[in-house]
């Protein structure tokens, strides 16, 4: 039987796996230093000194990852652009607080997630749904979510259907799912960012996937839903 659990493992565990069956190796979507070869310390020093070109280089290095992170978290292009701008402004204002205790890209991703979270809280989105996740509703209790075996997802998931299903997730579920499964954050990082336990992060991710499964089984194609 093929190992269907490969893509569900933590990223670090997958990286250590030598199984030939592992075809999907998610990694955090941080900007690769090799993509733009520069001396980080020198660039940061130049930004401190007010060097516009140095900040432009940092923007070029991180823009795609930061914009994508914002877009996936909020699901709205206009908001994602605004949040990306705010994230880079915060980056610029706070760059002198970067102590090098983590990779710059990791630090910037955390900063961006906090910018998005602050935005979502200001909008009054139901981030209290994070609490609701502690108590699964009746449809999500273990053992009640199987359905008929012949409805197993085929593996050919329609992008629009998945986007719709993710968009329909409660805000808290969506955040954990996007951060872990799309952006590649680890549970301990998510727990820190969202201020709850690692176990809660694992639980919420699982529930998010279960909700997506139910949604995709009901509406496997976006066109069939309307």
């Amino acid at each position: 039987m093929p190992d269907n659990t490969a893509s569900l493992r933590s990223h670090s565990e997958i990286s250590r796996s030598s199984s030939a069956e592992v075809t999907y190796v998610p990694t955090k979507r941080v900007a690769s230093k090799s993509a733009v070869n520069y001396d980080q310390a020198e660039i940061l020093a130049r930004v401190h000194a007010g060097d516009h070109q140095a900040f432009a280089l940092l923007y070029a290095t991180h823009k795609r990852q930061i914009y994508s992170l914002c877009l996936h978290m909020v699901g709205n292009i206009a908001e994602a652009e605004d949040l990306t701008q705010e994230a880079f402004l915060q980056f610029y204002r706070k760059i002198n607080t970067f102590r090098g205790e983590s990779a710059l890209s990791t630090w910037f991703h955390r900063l961006t997630v906090n910018v998005v979270l602050m935005h979502l809280r200001k909008k009054g989105l139901q981030l209290n749904s994070l609490d609701e996740m502690m108590e699964p509703d009746s449809d999500q209790r273990p053992g009640r979510s199987f359905g008929a075996p012949d409805l197993v997802l085929s593996g050919a998931i329609d992008r629009l259907a998945l986007e719709r299903a993710i968009g329909d997730l409660p805000a808290g579920y969506r955040l954990v799912f996007v951060l872990h499964d799309i952006e590649g954050f680890e549970h301990n990082e998510i727990a820190t960012l969202l201020d709850f336990s690692i176990g809660n992060s694992k639980s919420q991710l699982h529930k998010a996937r279960m909700k997506l499964r139910e949604s995709l089984r009901k509406h496997p194609q976006q066109g069939g839903r309307r």
Binding site: G50, A80, D181
Partner: protein, 83 residues
């Protein structure tokens, strides 16, 4: 409720799934899965969803205008001053 070879019900097994999945262990070797088609199907679906999410949401390029907006905002920002 289905009972597996090691007497775990589907409900009990699913209750352990979040930890099992994130543990890095080979869940497919779990005794319950060897005897339970429904839980194997569930696990396959969750794998499919996780894989699809990663594949269907690529890193995307922001619009060019965004940099100009950021530049303007930074110029208007108090400190540090850019040349």
């Amino acid at each position: 409720m289905r009972k597996s070879a090691n007497h775990l019900s589907c409900e009990e097994f699913q209750g352990q799934l979040p930890d099992l999945i994130s543990s890095g262990e080979r869940i497919t070797d779990h005794p319950h899965l060897r005897s339970c088609y429904l839980c194997r199907a569930l696990l396959a679906d969750l794998e499919t969803i996780a894989h699809a999410a990663r594949q269907l949401f690529p890193v995307v390029e922001p619009p060019d205008a965004l940099w100009r907006h950021i530049q303007s905002a930074i110029v208007n920002d108090a400190a540090p001053n850019l040349h």
